[in-house]
């Protein structure tokens, strides 16, 4: 029973500015799962994940693909009758599963988001082509070909950047980030 309480508290602690334990307010109505456009692809629906958090199923929650399939559309969040910010909960689980190194094998999300953040830390702006290696190798042959076809067409239409954009005050920008996170891990 103590473990049960511990995991929902752990999750609450990951939520910025959350008061109390938001998942404890869940009445298991399933509005989130009924609203979610991706629920059909998830190992566990959002309603199930919340029930599992409250029941202390820590490993099963962290290894689930559920939060990595969340598209951040906030549709569940605006409809939750208990005002649980479910999307922020999904963000928190993403961070926690990366930090714990617990996430499910074969997911693109964790490597893609790390590559994205590293890119911004280096240059301050997004440059799409640099991200491709973080996901393209997880694609099957057909998806790879699709991606190449799309990139070619974007390039022909003048919609793909060829020179990485950078901000001007990059040195002080990096020092600013250094006050938040140790740069060693991201350089």
């Amino acid at each position: 029973m103590t473990d049960t309480i511990a995991f929902s508290q752990e999750v609450s602690n990951l939520l910025h500015a959350a008061e109390g334990e938001p998942t404890r307010a869940c009445i298991q109505c399933g509005t989130c799962s009924g609203t979610c456009p991706v629920a059909g692809y998830m190992d566990h629906t959002p309603r199930q994940i919340i029930a599992m958090i409250n029941a202390g199923y820590k490993d099963q929650v962290l290894e689930s693909n559920t939060f990595w399939y969340c598209a951040s559309c906030y549709h569940c969040t605006v409809r939750c009758p208990q005002d649980i910010n479910i999307t922020e909960l999904m963000y928190a689980l993403k961070r926690y599963s990366i930090w714990k190194g617990k996430h499910k094998e074969g997911l693109v999300g964790p490597t893609f988001s790390e590559a994205f953040v590293k890119m911004i830390v280096r240059g301050g702006r997004s440059f799409e082509p640099i991200l491709a290696p973080s996901y393209i190798f997880s694609f099957n042959l057909r998806e790879m070909l699709q991606e190449v076809t799309n990139a070619t067409e974007l390039l022909l239409k003048g919609r793909l950047p060829v020179i990485p954009a950078r901000i001007k005050r990059l040195a002080s920008f990096k020092r600013m980030i250094g006050r938040i996170i140790p740069m060693g891990g991201l350089e």
Partner: protein, 293 residues
């Protein structure tokens, strides 16, 4: 003349350059000046929040701090940039400890944020800062006979900010009516395009795109209007993949709402970035023109 600090966001530099061009052209006609924010950085899309929350707030706060120095409110044309900046400002306003920590980091870049900036989405400027009559007064070529699916997507309206309608808003329809187009009843107008799942969970995202396209076909629209570069790319550029995956046959134009406004204002296609899309809207325009005659 109204003036805003304009935060284009990374997508508008190239991938969605037509949104950038048409935003500048149409606002200029309405006597609104978009002054690009000096040395802005990426808003972080959703991915900063997957890695480190404090970093995510700090990177957004840097842009807010730069805007604060100009004394102008921020306008963002991208829904993800808008949402990130809006809620960063909201969190910083509520949480003094968070604001202190973020400002400690901003010091390194000689910046400070004091919570004095309002953040708007570009479409809100068209819906709130000008009246429908003002828009109508600039229309020289009304889009009569063109049936448009107003695609709100997610982060313009969600999460909820105050008491605004998050289920059935109508402001997009209002703008389309003002330029003479016919906004169709588009039941999936509030559903998600898949966002970055197009990279990380391809099949799921393609099925979401398929549903949105099918719904637009069923609504007898001739074009989908979007207000977000991510939505535009997912809905337009991945139609071939949707067709392969689901044995469908979509070839449905998807334009930025500012491009449609620009057409109605009589601005040239080139100035609106029309011609950069995968699926041309020109046949529908011609058809509508013919019907009109």
């Amino acid at each position: 003349m109204k003036e805003f600090a304009y935060f284009p966001g990374c997508s508008l530099e190239k991938m969605a350059e037509s949104y950038h061009l048409s935003a500048l052209e149409t606002t200029k006609k309405l006597n609104i000046k978009l002054q690009e924010l000096d040395d802005w950085n990426c808003c972080g899309a959703t991915t900063y929040f997957y890695i480190d929350e404090l970093l995510a707030y700090t990177l957004c706060a840097r842009n807010l701090a730069i805007a604060e120095k100009t004394g102008l409110d921020i306008v963002a044309p991208c829904s993800a940039c808008y949402k990130n900046m809006y809620f960063t400002a909201a969190h910083l306003a509520k949480d003094a400890d968070l604001a202190e920590h973020v400002n400690f980091a901003l010091e390194e870049d000689d910046l400070q944020y004091n919570g004095q900036v309002n953040i708007k989405h570009l479409i809100e400027v068209f819906a709130q800062d000008v009246t429908a009559e003002e828009i109508k007064s600039k229309v020289t070529r009304p889009l009569e006979g063109i049936r448009v699916a107003p695609y709100y997507g997610c982060q313009i309206v969600r999460p909820q900010k105050e008491k605004e309608d998050v289920e059935q808003p109508q402001f997009f329809e209002g703008i389309l009516s003002a330029i003479g187009a016919t906004p169709v009843n588009y039941p999936l107008k509030m559903r998600c395009c898949g966002g970055s799942l197009i990279i990380s969970s391809r099949t799921a995202a393609l099925s979401m795109v398929r549903n949105l396209l099918q719904c637009a076909v069923d609504s007898q629209a001739t074009v989908i209007a979007t207000a977000c570069p991510m939505c535009q790319v997912n809905l337009e550029c991945y139609q071939q993949q949707v067709n392969q995956e689901f044995g469908a046959n979509f070839s449905f134009p998807v334009l930025y709402f500012t491009q449609l406004i620009g057409l109605a204002f009589g601005i040239s296609h080139k100035k609106l970035g029309i011609g950069k899309e995968f699926i041309s809207f020109a046949p529908s325009l011609l058809q509508a023109g013919q019907r009109k005659d």
